[in-house]
Amino acid sequence: MGTIAVATVSTRRRRSSSRTDAAIERRWGYAFILPTVAFFIAFVAYPFIRAAYLSLSRWAGYGTVEFVGFHNFVALTQDPIFWQALRTTILYTAITTVVQTALPLLLAVLLNAGWRGGVLFRTVVFLPAVVSFVVSGILWQMIYEPNFGLLNRALRAVGLGGLAQGWLANGTTALPAIMFVSLWMSLGLFMLIYFAGMQGINPNLYEAARLDGANSWQQLRYVTVPMLRPITAVVVTLNMISGLKVFDIVYTMTGGGPNHATEVLGTYLYSIAFGSRTASIPAIGYGTAVSMVVFVLAMGAVLFQNWWTRKARDERD
């Protein structure tokens, strides 16, 4: 009798103490996440919700906010500069994505063959990813400068002076010139992502391929590339996102010019909202409508990647 009573008491005590433990843990949990959640609401969630609302409003940044429904988006469809910025953004994203997915892969495959000085090579090629877009933009602006820039001087030195021109002042060469800087900045980064992925491929697969008589090219084609598909999906998405949100480098190098030839959605919404270049009345509502377009495109890229990663995993496994 006595022992049973003791047992009941001790069970009850244990249960109630574990209940307090859970309550204490809960309290600590909320306390630990509170600052992060507060910052998130203040500087991420709230601005985002506000952007969604402002995109449906007419507002110059002061005075009353007038709700206008989808008026801004309708106006966008009749805005030739918006269409041009959208086209340029998509073109920029498409080309940089293809180039910056393929070239780093080829380079990683080459590097993986094992070379003396390979580590030094990795260090050097990664270097442009470390400096800022502003530094890179200004540096390449000088390189592309028509009269004394490094590129034109080099062309003249090798007898190709006829090709020398104002690379960023010419509407047809300005965008490719910026894309080249983007490649210069990201080549080493994406090469290292692939390179890391290649270290994770099971060597037995190559062994088996060799036993089947596969040469180096066939090993690349039928082992490396398929095994790297999930990583390729990441690289493609990273490229798509950074292409869609491109701002710093264009703003620094051309400001969207000449005559909107390099205008992208990022620079366009910036000039609408902050009016630095157009000298017009800042149109906050209209500008945030453009930023909603950027947001929707970026989310599309993320969904695309989720779908592709899952597909690549399923196919590989």
């Binding site: 094992g114 530094v135 290292l192 090993q219």
Partner: protein, 301 residues
Amino acid sequence: MSATDVSASHPAAGTAAQISATHRQHWSRPTSAFARAGGYLVLLFVGLGTVFPFVWMLLTSVRESNTVFSGGFLPSSVSFAAYRSAWVQVDMAHHFFVSVWMTVVTVIGVVSLSTLSGYAFAKLRFPGKQAIYLLLLSTLMVPPTATIIPLFIELRDLHLINNQGGLVLVYIGTALPFSMFLMRAFFESLPSELIEAGKLDGATQWSIFRRIMLPLAAPGVATVVIFQFLQTWNEFLMANTLLQSPNLLPLQPMLFALNGQYSTNWPVLTAALTITSVPVIIVYVRMQRQFVAGLTLGAIK
């Protein structure tokens, strides 16, 4: 989106750790000497081509200003006058220290808050945990250009526009979800038995976190520190938008303004670019491993 979807959208988080792993060779080297010579030439060409703009930047910064547009490729004499002008006359010294303190405060803020929340999301049980976690992550891919306009309005309403403290708050707020995501992954990999052992010894949740778990997460903290240092030091869009007085600017928007005023003074301009890049390059060369891990993680932002 389920939890697995979120981590599946960030496989770089896994690969980054392997980047500096020992190089493993998979297939036989190209046998022909011809192929090897060709491969070597390609690597040499890419390597030299990548570093060449930096070499040219350094060479231009040490030229006498009257030889920039006429002299040969190598300067005939070396002068550090441009660095003196950039540091003293342009007063980069001032903007350099603005960048230093803003970066330091941002890094401290982000690391302390993201280790706390990362730990809670990894190891503590509380209702609503999963939902809050997914909500924080859902905005990881929102481009900064999509929220810069409302952020400007918000800071203006709070009277924090043109205020360096306001910018630091924005830096911390926008960086936290991603750093929390990283720290959660690191804490998740630590054994929960350590927490139970701490509880048996009568330790509070705070001292379990502070004395037991945080020291074990040091490699993760190092990655977040380096990644955040690079992000903040190089940030341009928000600094250029949320600060307006020239004397408040950190280095990146200050360089942008300088580019307009000194567009013909290349030695001073390249000296300014060099001064701005030296800190990140030093950290990169000294801490390459964490740096590459941090940046490949950062690329997914």
